[in-house]
Assembly symmetry: C2
Homo-oligomer: 229 residues x 2
């Protein structure tokens, strides 16, 4: 059975990625990064998703690095998570929640892991449409990283190049929700809120995108929110 | 004063890189990875080198990842470090001491750090001649990673592309030693031995390369060895 590493955050997108890897018949090895988010809710939900899929192994890696360099609202306690921003504001520039070069760090480690377990593919749930503010979510970035793998991984020399799959990269949040439902992904186990409290806030950028996605897909989000929606 | 991130392992090559960055007039920010080596001798020596250069800040990042995926002799206790290998054996294939995709992980984090402190350059002491067994030490790999930075770092969009400098990449170990002496690098503070004991073993691959380098440079290695050389 062929192996896939799936970068699993416990969010909506990476959970739908899990369902895609499973539907292709891969033996799935979820890889989760605990990187000094303000909260550990994401990691907790990632564990539930890995359990749901009956994965034999779920590697959770602690990276203190992003807190150490801490500039972003997701890792630093000194910056507030922006809430209630308009669609126009959401479309503007690089958000304060950007974690410097995060996806490169994630992909580097995922590649090292794939090398060590002889996995042939890495799934990452990056999305270029809804997160256009993050430069490391662009298709060109993923392509450039593929080239780094070709030239830097030992397996490439043996003719077994590890491939990055980013199946959600051109999909809207509504399409991702629809695909998740079709694949029977455990969307009720996912979390997207930047605030990381017991219930989702419903007003941070990430909650807004998620709610719009469910709305566009014509269905109700199964998770619980603090505000009455 | 312009800032440079220097990836500093406490070894010979990265310490010579420090001296190059200093000679170019950079405000140097050393970055050291504690990544589950069997020993912490390297990190200890890195601190001494950073102190020697009077750096204001020395970021030491713990990465448990390589131990978690642990396959290599440098991080796993179950694989023995090879010793007393011939020049022919040293030239053969990928050594057991290879840490999967290590330089990509290091460069990713160095780029995130450079973004956050607004550094314009990253120095890395990779070397393609003496370590040809590691695919992530090849010039093509460094070039490909430069492209990942161009496409994935936020600073690139602002026209301030972070540049990777690998000034030792085509140098022999003898040339590196000579340059270190010319730049008055604290070579006596560096460590290269894979075994990580109080004194260097003199017989692992890394000690052999180092000793050959000093011999080729026509000088004596100032550090202490267990064996009488």
């Amino acid at each position: 059975m062929k192996k896939a590493v799936v970068i699993l955050s416990g969010g909506l997108d990476s959970t739908v990625c899990m369902s895609i890897a499973k539907s292709k018949g891969y033996d799935v090895f979820p890889l989760t990064f605990a990187y000094g988010q303000r909260h550990n809710k994401e990691v907790e939900q990632a564990r539930k998703v890995a359990d749901y899929y009956g994965c034999n192994k779920h590697l959770v890696v602690d990276i203190d690095f992003f807190r150490a360099i801490g500039e972003s609202a997701l890792t630093s306690d000194r910056i507030n998570v922006p809430v209630n921003r308009s669609q126009e504001e959401l479309a503007e520039g690089i958000p304060v929640t950007y974690v410097p070069f995060r996806n490169a760090v994630f992909l580097s480690m995922a590649t090292g892991y794939a090398e060590s377990i002889r996995a042939e593919i890495i799934y990452i749930g990056v999305n270029a449409l809804d997160y256009s503010g993050y430069p490391d979510c662009r298709p060109q970035f993923i392509q450039a990283f593929q080239e780094v793998i070709r030239l830097g991984a030992t397996t490439s020399d043996k003719g077994a190049q590890i491939k990055i799959e980013s199946p959600l990269i051109h999909m809207s949040k509504g399409e991702i929700v629809k695909l998740g439902l079709k694949n029977k992904s455990p969307l009720h186990l996912t979390t997207s809120c930047y605030q990381g409290r017991e219930r989702a806030c419903g007003i941070c950028d990430s909650c807004q995108l998620r709610l719009k996605g469910f709305s566009d897909a014509g269905t109700k989000d199964p998770i619980q929110y603090e505000e009455v929606m």
